[in-house]
């Protein structure tokens, strides 16, 4: 069945429908990863978005249940160039097409993804509508205009807290703004216990459990929409407990300190972003997935300093807070998908709170 992606600017890309046959609006973004589509599609940070994969062959190794980063696909839709017909890998358990169906997620294949990416690069991230029926363009336009990613953190976060390895000496509170499973795994593999809290859990409740450290996870949407979360982070910041923030967690900490965030033209989504650690001058290749960033000029020098920058566009990639055991990064040290080069940050965090691996 033919399908179309209608963009906010009126441009239409056609393709063939895959997965669910529902129509949907989304914010269209592109990801440049060449492997790791399972992790990408199940990353909760994509909630509300339609993902364009720039790599032209998707589905080569099918679906591997172990590689999902959350319980389901959070993206609203996917747009790919070609869907592999013959998937092959020793762990393959199914194919992408049925995975999309199971998740009730629609998508398009045979899309000129390069052209679409160039449109997004030049005009910036846009909203769009995936449909098979172009007969009522007015209605489609209205739907696109009405679409807002909204308060998606509340959609993706867990409903109740859950604890892992409670017997461990060191306990970490992980705030679930839409965390990727590998953040949890990265912590657990370093010998600590973790309790995952729903995003809206109050600071008091978290602090009551006397965690040795707090981890602010990644998550979807506009950080400024997270008023309650920001208030909570303020309190956590004041508590003197060590905090490590990733992605949305990094942005929320910045906002909690009165710094400002803004939207990038077309975001950073891919496994190849060079980030410079300003302390040792070394550059790391990082996995990234964010549409917003912390404005460098808004950072209060008395409170914090920039620890990492993106080498491509010089945007802030990490902040180190002064006189606090608090540091945050915009990129994803938990990788999955992408390079594992910055996994040492988890070690740094564990070291900071006195835990040995």
């Amino acid at each position: 069945m033919k399908g179309y992606l209608v963009l906010e600017n009126g441009q239409i890309f056609d393709g063939e429908r895959i997965g669910s046959k529902i129509d949907t609006a989304c914010e269209v973004v592109f990801n440049t990863g060449m492997a790791g589509y399972i992790e990408t599609f199940t990353d909760p940070s994509y909630a509300g978005q339609g993902i364009v994969m720039t790599y032209p062959l998707i589905g080569n190794y099918g679906i591997i249940k172990n590689d999902v980063e959350s319980s389901k696909i959070w993206a609203k839709s996917i747009f790919i160039h070609e869907l592999a017909e013959f998937e092959s890998n020793f762990r393959t358990e199914g194919n992408l097409e049925s995975f999309l169906e199971e998740n009730n997620i629609p998508g398009l294949k045979n899309v000129n993804t390069r052209m679409l990416t160039k449109v997004l690069r030049n005009s910036g991230t846009m909203r769009g509508y995936l449909t098979s029926n172009l007969s009522n363009m007015k209605e489609i336009e209205n739907k696109i205009k009405a679409y807002k990613v909204g308060k998606v953190v509340e959609e993706v976060t867990c409903s109740q807290k859950e604890s892992f390895n409670e017997d461990r000496k060191i306990q970490i509170a992980l705030l679930d703004y839409g965390y990727k499973k590998n953040i949890l795994k990265s912590l657990l593999s370093r010998g600590v216990g973790v309790t995952v809290y729903p995003a809206l859990t109050s600071a008091q409740e978290i602090l009551k459990s006397k965690p040795n450290g707090i981890m602010l996870s990644n998550g979807p949407g506009d950080p400024e929409d997270c008023e309650v979360e920001i208030e909570n982070v303020k309190k956590l910041y004041n508590s003197d407990v060590a905090i490590f923030g990733i992605c949305l967690g990094h942005q929320l900490m910045a906002l909690a300190n009165g710094f400002k965030t803004a939207k990038l033209k077309f975001g950073h989504r891919g496994p190849n972003h060079p980030v410079k650690d300003l302390k040792n001058g070394k550059v790391y290749i990082t996995s990234q997935n964010h549409g917003y960033y912390v404005i460098e000029d808004s950072i209060d020098e008395n409170k914090a300093e920039v620890s990492h920058i993106n080498l491509n566009d010089q945007t802030v990639e990490g902040i180190s807070y002064k006189n606090k055991k608090v540091f945050t990064v915009q990129f994803h040290p938990e990788a999955c998908p992408g390079p594992q080069d910055t996994a040492y940050l988890f070690d740094k965090f564990i070291d900071m709170i006195g835990g040995n691996k």
């Binding site: 080569n60 190849n272 060079p274 594992q340």
Partner: protein
């Protein structure tokens, strides 16, 4: 860290002659490095013995030494030039080894020369087997488990530990005889005991067998601050067991999930960090297809063939960046040239796929084994870029120029299903085609996978191509089907042949419906950033990113994959053509498909199209670019072959016209042209069948020269001495359908002389006349060539100049041409005229200091020679003698016959330059790796008719004090003539035979003139092969031996030779 200001003068070491396993990629890397260093204001001293390279060009370095790549020579250059640093990691294994020898001997320290890039320790840890193993162990990276054992018991115990199957490799046996794979303990016991028996030192290596594992490579870069990036990963379609140079390779990896991808990437970075590499490095992994188990196969602490491929596949200029790192820059200080905005410190992402297919020389070596294994056999490779693998494979296949334009392999048509299945077991150059044939016969993916261990994913791709073939063969061609076929990379010709239409009909239907190729840009970043490099590949997706600039542009057609007969020289010509056109203000377009070359570097031409060189592919580019004209005369036979089709679609052929080019090839036309000029040529005729051939041969009288029309490098060419031989050769040529007649000429024995010349329609310019040391009958590419001529009579030179002018004008040559002459019994004959650039152009340009290609280009553009400062006629002779010597790769190709004849066999060449003839020859011999000692033992076995001539040779060496070994007949003949010779038994005479003598390592060289025929069963063949495998030079032409004698006669030592900076010649 910014540039290290202490670096002011750098010695760059090149990789020497093209051999199998070390080809044009190092010219590409070296050229990039030299340009980069010069841009940084550093004085570049270059050492490379290969005159065909671009890196040895005058504008590439400040001082250029076309000298042997030996420690002795390097020391002399260092003493003379006193560089402060040496750049070792861009000249392949040869350059690296040489630099390491200099470093380890303490010479570099003594002369205060700094080793740039990776340190001595790092290189040693990567190169030395044991050191590498130890280092991998210390960082917990798994190598392939192996152990040297001296007994069967130890072997069994070790196998128990590492699990079967295991490979048994006996130490010191030729070509690994006596080894094998053991799948059971019983088998191990059997193989091991025989292996131990065969091994001279009673020793075998037991190694875990990982054949069938996935072979994955990562290209990694690291700077002095420790920042590491991976440029690209690649997956071999052929699993472990086939050398990566002989594998079909795709980029990026296709069957790895992010988990495996990152696991290996992390490992690669760990390794490069442990080795403290500064620059580029290649890490090869074997990955168990059924688990996360992996092993590090090898690390190359330098740029390599794979890094050239990775550079072209991603657009990331690895060699350039490696050079910058070597002089102190860090990755975050180097701008990404492609985007112009971002830095070199990032990892490229692809939004297309890349397929590399090797080009093998098997057509040249009919007796050679086509099996693929751990010894690389390919001479070159092609690369294809496409949005999908199907198209990538189809583009790659037709880029090979093997008369194939799809996965349909004519030979398999006659196979039964059983034969096809049987053939699947064979790991050779035809395997992927056989997989396609098996699928056509309905053999399942699972079954094929079980037999070949090729990943099902790739078999699936072949199946999709096969299904498309079937659809095209069974359905009416509608637009939808046509579009899909084009998206899979099917050419109009293939579609037509499957669909029962004519190519013209398909072409018309397609064009009428505007199904045309659109070009996408290679931008290193999957469109995330705006790119500035005009590097394109075709697709059938919407949107053409290549735009007609409206400027006046000229297209230069490249020469495709490196092969015997068409090597790097033609890339040299293409690149110089582009540069000359740019100087004149034209916009330039280059079309080529060879990832190893300089011409496919994105900053050579204004626009680079990485595409197959076929009529349809080129036409599509023409449709987009609408060039003013095209130059075909620089790209070898590959480009020449496109002349007619370019002409047909209305592209102006700049330079010699299509019609005139054909006149040089078409027998009758050529004869007419020569007659018009009153020039002699050996008598001959054209034939199609064996009967006609015999008739012509008998009329002319044997021996005769047999060859197909329109070939390069004398492919299929042979001298026939009787009816039986002519039958054999003509049949051989006719295994491929011949569009043109076969030529049979009287073989004229004489001295061969060659010229390259430029003609502007009125005048000619001959840079120099070259003389071949081997007599006619040995292909010019395999002959030692001397410039200027040493003993050609002035009157003959005059005739040669006169003939050159006459025939050039007769054929309306505009641009460059190459002529081969024979001087026999006082007469000058022309045997061949090639109205195009030739193999000798780079070398003769360098030694005469004439920019031949630039002059030719300007002539093509309408300028006149008389208005240029170079004069006309024969250019002044150089004071230096320059000897070009061929280099062969026989040891790499099992069972290839090494005897020299009319069919070219050499893969590369070296140059010797000196004011004295014998010194130049000596240098060339040293550079080619020959043993030039003035004492020792030689073995002589010659055919009867060469005996008289051999006697002279034997006398010379005897007088010099060489000990001569010979078979009974020859020995007796020598004794009769007063030369002592030790008799050695013939092969079939059993013990202490010739073969044992060769194996003993006592010999300096072997002289063996081949008897008739191409069969491999003969003794001569076995002797030659044994010599090759024992790395003992074997000369099959007495002329070559005489040249060697001339070189060593006065006992000049290498240390006495003076190094010559070619820029001052």
């Amino acid at each position: 860290m910014p540039k290290n200001k202490d670096i002011k003068k750098v010695l760059v070491i090149g990789s020497g002659p093209i051999i199998i396993g070390q080809a044009a990629e190092f010219d590409y890397a070296g050229t990039q490095a030299c340009r980069e260093l010069k841009k940084e204001g550093i004085e570049v001293i270059l050492l490379n013995s290969n005159p065909a390279t671009i890196m040895t060009d005058k504008n590439m370095a400040d001082k250029i030494y076309l000298e042997p790549l030996t420690v002795e020579t390097a020391k002399k250059i260092i003493k003379k030039e006193r560089p402060d640093s040496i750049l070792p990691n861009l000249g392949g294994q040869t350059g690296l080894n040489l630099a390491m020898e200099l470093a380890e001997s303490g010479f570099l320290d003594e002369y205060n020369v700094k080793l740039l890039g990776t340190g001595k320790e790092g290189i040693k840890n990567a190169e030395d087997r044991q050191a590498f193993k130890d280092m991998m162990e210390s960082i917990n990276e798994p190598c392939i488990a192996s152990k040297v054992v001296n007994s069967v018991e130890d072997a069994l115990a070790f196998a128990e530990q590492i699990k079967l199957p295991v490979i048994v490799r006996p130490a010191y046996t030729l070509g690994g005889t006596g080894g094998g794979i053991a799948y059971s303990m019983e088998e191990l016991e059997e193989i091991c005991s025989s292996g131990l028996r065969l091994s001279r030192v009673h020793q075998v290596l037991i190694e875990k067998c990982i054949a069938g594992w996935k072979e994955i490579e990562y290209e990694v870069m690291r700077d002095s601050k420790g920042t590491c990036i991976t440029i690209c990963n690649m997956e071999n379609i052929d699993p472990v067991g086939v050398h990566t140079g002989d594998s079909i390779v795709v980029a990026p990896s296709q069957t790895l999930s992010d988990k495996e991808y990152q696991m290996l990437r992390t490992s690669a970075i760990k390794i490069i960090s442990a080795l403290k590499i500064e620059g580029g490095c290649n890490v090869q992994f074997a990955l168990n297809p059924n688990s996360f188990e992996y092993a590090v196969i090898e690390v190359n602490p330098r740029v390599s063939r794979s890094s050239a491929l990775a550079s072209k596949a991603t657009g990331y200029p690895i060699a350039k960046v490696a050079a910058k790192i070597a002089i102190g820059y860090t990755l975050d200080e180097i701008i990404n040239q492609v985007t112009g905005k971002t830095y070199a410190c990032f990892e490229p992402v692809l939004d297309y796929v890349v397929v590399k297919i090797p080009k093998w020389p098997f057509k040249k070596f009919l007796t050679a084994s086509r099996d693929l294994g751990t010894q690389m056999k390919a001479t070159g490779e092609v690369m294809a870029i496409a949005p999908n693998l199907e198209m990538g494979i189809m583009k790659g296949v037709r880029s090979l120029e093997e008369n194939l334009d799809s996965l349909i392999y004519p030979k398999f048509k006659d196979y039964t299903d059983e034969e096809v299945e049987e053939k699947l077991h064979k790991i050779d150059n035809e395997r992927f085609f056989c997989i396609a044939e098996a699928l056509r016969r309905g053999i399942s993916i699972d079954k094929i996978h079980e037999i070949t261990t090729v990943d099902k994913f790739f078999i699936g791709i072949a199946l999709k191509i096969v299904r498309m073939e079937k659809e095209l063969a069974t359905k009416k061609l509608n637009l939808e089907l046509l579009r899909r076929a084009k998206e899979y990379g099917f050419t109009d010709k293939v579609i037509a042949s499957l669909n029962g239409m004519t190519e013209e009909e398909v072409h018309k239907f397609r064009k009428e419906n505007k199904i045309t190729a659109n070009y996408k840009m290679v931008d290193t970043c999957a469109a995330e950033f705006e790119a500035q490099t005009p590097y394109y590949y075709s697709s059938y997706d919407d949107e053409n990113e290549a735009k007609d600039s409206g400027k006046k542009k000229i297209m230069v057609l490249g020469s495709g994959p490196i092969r015997i007969g068409q090597g790097i020289e033609f890339d040299y010509c293409s690149v110089h053509g582009v540069w000359a056109l740019k100087k004149k203000g034209y916009e330039t377009i280059i079309v080529n498909n060879n990832p190893e070359t300089v011409s496919t570097d994105f900053d050579i031409a204004d626009k680079l199209y990485f595409e197959p060189l076929t009529p349809e592919d080129v036409e599509s580019i023409v449709d987009t670019e609408k060039p003013y004209g095209a130059i075909v005369q620089f790209g070898g036979q590959t480009a020449i072959k496109l002349t007619e089709s370019l002409d047909k679609i209305g592209v102006k052929i700049l330079g010699t016209s299509a019609v005139d080019m054909d006149r040089a090839e078409d027998r009758e036309e050529f004869d007419k042209a020569l007659t018009n000029c009153g020039i002699l040529r050996p008598k001959g005729g054209t034939i199609y069948t064996v009967e006609e051939a015999k008739a012509v041969a008998n009329r002319l009288g044997y021996p005769v020269l047999v060859r197909p029309s329109y070939v390069l490098g004398g492919q299929g060419m042979a001298i026939a001495y009787d009816d039986k031989e002519i039958e054999e050769y003509v049949n051989e040529i006719n295994t491929v359908a011949q569009e043109h007649p076969i030529l049979v000429d009287k073989y004229v024995m004489g001295r061969e002389v060659e010229v390259d010349a430029i003609c502007d329609g009125e005048d000619i310019l001959i840079p120099g006349i070259m003389q071949h040391l081997e007599r006619a009958g040995v292909h010019s590419g395999d002959s030692i060539s001397v410039y200027p001529t040493q003993n050609v009579e002035p009157e003959h030179e005059k005739t040669i100049i006169e003939y050159t002018k006459k025939i050039a004008k007769e054929l309306n040559v505009l641009g460059i041409l190459n002529i081969q002459f024979i001087i026999s019994e006082g007469k000058v004959y022309i045997i061949e005229v090639n109205p195009r650039s030739s193999r000798t152009v780079p070398y003769i340009s360098k030694v005469t200091n004439l920019p031949m290609i630039e002059i030719a280009t300007n002539v093509i553009l309408g300028e006149k020679l008389k208005d240029m400062p170079y004069g006309t006629g024969l250019y002044r002779k150089s004071d230096y003698v320059c000897v070009k010597m061929p280099v062969f790769s026989f040891e790499k190709i099992k069972n290839a016959d090494t005897s020299l004849g009319p069919e070219m066999k050499s893969t590369g060449e070296v140059l010797g330059v000196s004011k004295k003839y014998h010194e130049a020859v000596l240098k060339a011999f040293i550079a080619s790796g020959a043993n030039v000692s003035t004492r020792g033992n030689i073995l002589i076995t010659v055919r009867d008719k060469d005996k008289e001539e051999m006697l002279e040779v034997a006398q010379k060496f005897d007088k010099k004090g060489f000990k001569i070994f010979a078979t009974k007949g020859t020995a007796k003949f020598l004794e009769e003539n007063g030369i002592k010779a030790k008799v050695v038994e013939k092969i079939w005479e059993g013990k202490d035979s010739i073969l044992d003598l060769i194996q003993s390592g006592k010999l300096n060289f072997v002289i063996n003139t081949p008897t008739k025929g191409k069969q491999s069963g003969r003794d001569g063949f076995k002797i030659r092969r044994m010599a090759v495998e024992c790395k003992i030079p074997c000369f099959t032409s007495l002329d070559t031996v005489n040249a060697l004698y001339a070189a060593i006669e006065d006992e000049t030592k290498e240390e006495d030779l003076e190094v010559v900076d070619i820029t001052e010649v």
